[in-house]
Structures are given as structure tokens and as C-alpha cells.
């Protein structure tokens, strides 16, 4: 089943709030091997001018992939998850994600295209606080491998 190109340009409503916790930041930082104490020590973080411990640069993927799920799980999109490969990922941080942040993600389907028998879908999640402050733009391209 081909990927539904009608989804290009679609914007989903903002997700439920995700609350960024110090515990999850620590767990993520340990998993990627980031030794910067700014992820685990609130005193260090405050000394550097942050409100609390901050997340590593790729932490936002955790929230963005939950947003992407709205598209991937939509039967009308025609995305076979078992054939999905992550092609590209990019983050633009407007400020670091910080423990205590209450963020919502708005999913944009930027492009849907076919190339060489595969489909490529680029999504963009705009993460902002509940108050509307932009925090991070996470852009992801997935490749849906064509059938043989």
C-alpha cells in the first residue's frame, strides 16, 4: 500500500502536555553517555544560568517520536511501520529542554515523496511550552522501504 501523499502539509492539533522530569533527563543522559553534570546536578545547571537540569541535545526525540506516532498509526497514511527506517534527524534548539518544562508538540507533515521504490516522509515537531514559548524544532525523515 503506497504512502498517502494527501498527508503532505497536514498539521495535527497540539499533543497532550509532556512534563520533562529530572529523572528522565538523568536516565537519557546516562544512556547516551553524556557526562556533563548539567544533566544531573541542579546546582551546576543554575550556576550556568538554567532554571534546573537540562536535557542532552537529542532528548527531544523522545517527545517528537510520540508526536510522529499520530501519523504513523493513522491507517489512512498507509505507513507500514515494519518497513520504516530512520533516514535523517535534526534539532534546532530555541533553548534547552529543562526539568519542569510542560511542553506540547505540534506535528507538521512537511513532505511525502516517492524515490527509487521507497517512500520518504519528513515530519517536523514544534515543541513549545504550554505558555507558547518555542523550545525545539525537531525534523525527522523516515524511509518506508518498498515491497520486493
Amino acid at each position: 500500500m503506497p504512502v498517502n501523499s494527501d498527508f503532505q502539509g497536514r498539521v495535527y492539533p497540539p499533543t497532550e502536555t509532556y512534563r520533562v522530569s529530572a529523572a528522565k533527563i538523568r536516565e537519557f543522559a546516562e544512556a547516551v553517555g553524556s557526562a556533563d553534570p548539567v544533566h544531573v546536578d541542579a546546582e551546576v545547571a543554575r550556576a550556568r544560568g538554567y532554571a534546573d537540569v537540562i536535557a542532552p541535545p537529542t532528548f527531544a526525540v523522545l517527545i517528537a517520536q510520540q508526536c510522529d506516532g499520530q501519523l504513523i498509526r493513522d491507517p489512512e497514511a498507509g505507513i507500514d511501520f515494519s518497513r520504516v527506517v530512520h533516514g535523517e534527524q535534526r534539532f534546532v534548539h530555541h533553548r534547552p529542554l529543562t526539568a519542569g518544562d510542560a511542553v506540547v508538540g505540534t506535528l507538521h507533515v512537511d513532505t511525502v515523496r516517492e524515490a527509487g521504490g521507497h517512500a520518504m516522509v519528513t515530519t517536523r515537531t514544534e515543541l513549545a511550552t504550554e505558555a507558547g514559548e518555542a523550545v525545539c524544532t525537531a525534523t525527522s525523515t523516515i524511509v518506508i522501504r518498498g515491497g520486493e
Binding site: 536516565e27 544512556a31 547516551v32 548539567v38 546546582e43 543554575r46 537540562i54 541535545p57 537529542t58 535523517e88
Partner: protein
Amino acid sequence: MTTTPSTPSTPSTPSTTPAAVRSFSEVSVGDALPATTVHVDRARLVQYAGASLDRNRIHWDEPFAKAVGLPDVIAHGMFTMGSAVTLVTAWVGDAGRVVEYGVRFTRPVVVPYDAGADIEVSGVVKSVDPETKRVTVELTATAAGEKVLGRALAVAVLD
């Protein structure tokens, strides 16, 4: 090196304890960052799966990975991306200074049960912008002799 006159430290004024952030003036195009090796084994992938909530079985279940046509369990691309940028954050001196980071996933990192895999990560300063004190670092990550990331660029704001 410059020294800052010491002032009485009070917890409510963060500027009294400056971060050891790299100075823009000491960075030039072509500078190499200290290279590192990231070792990844199955335990690490399970740890990352839990931390990131990406529990796709191809990253920890060998029979499943092979059944869908992979040579073995493969690392999460996002694990490789996330561990590679620690080279930049350590060099900059503050993980919060990385304002942009993007990669292409060019090849999977295959992670055998016994030996795991080594990801060799290096980085070079590609451009500097005196106006914004932004530096762009290009990362190279290889596993088993093959590049696993492409167009891996991180932008950090220095002091």
C-alpha cells in the same frame, strides 16, 4: 588566559560561577576535537530503549531482527546520534550550548551478542561566525570501518 575578579558567591546570582565554556577566540576552522570510541553492547541498547521509549525489537531481539532481514540486532540510529554529540558537548563545556544538530543515518551499527560494537567518533570545526560566536562542527562516526552518520553537523554557541 583571562581571569575574572572573584566576587562573593551567592547562590541566587548564577554569573558568579561561570561555566567552563570554550572561548570563541581560541577556536579556528580546521581544529580537530579529541576523538573518542563509544562501545555499545546489548545491555546498552536495552538501557537506551528504556530511556528513549524506543522499544523497537530490532534493537534488542536477535531472532526478530534476523527475521525482518537484518544481519543482527542494530543500534538505534538515535543512540549513535546522541552518543556522538557528547564529543561536542564535552569540548564546548556545556551541553546547553548546542543549538542545532542534524545527521543522516547512512548505515546501521550492527551489535553482535558477544563483542558488541565500537563507534569511532571524531570532529572538525567547519566554520565559525564571529558575530554570533557560533561554531559548526562536522562529526564523523564509523563502525566496522564504515561511516554510519552522514552530514553530521552540530552548531554550538561559545563564549
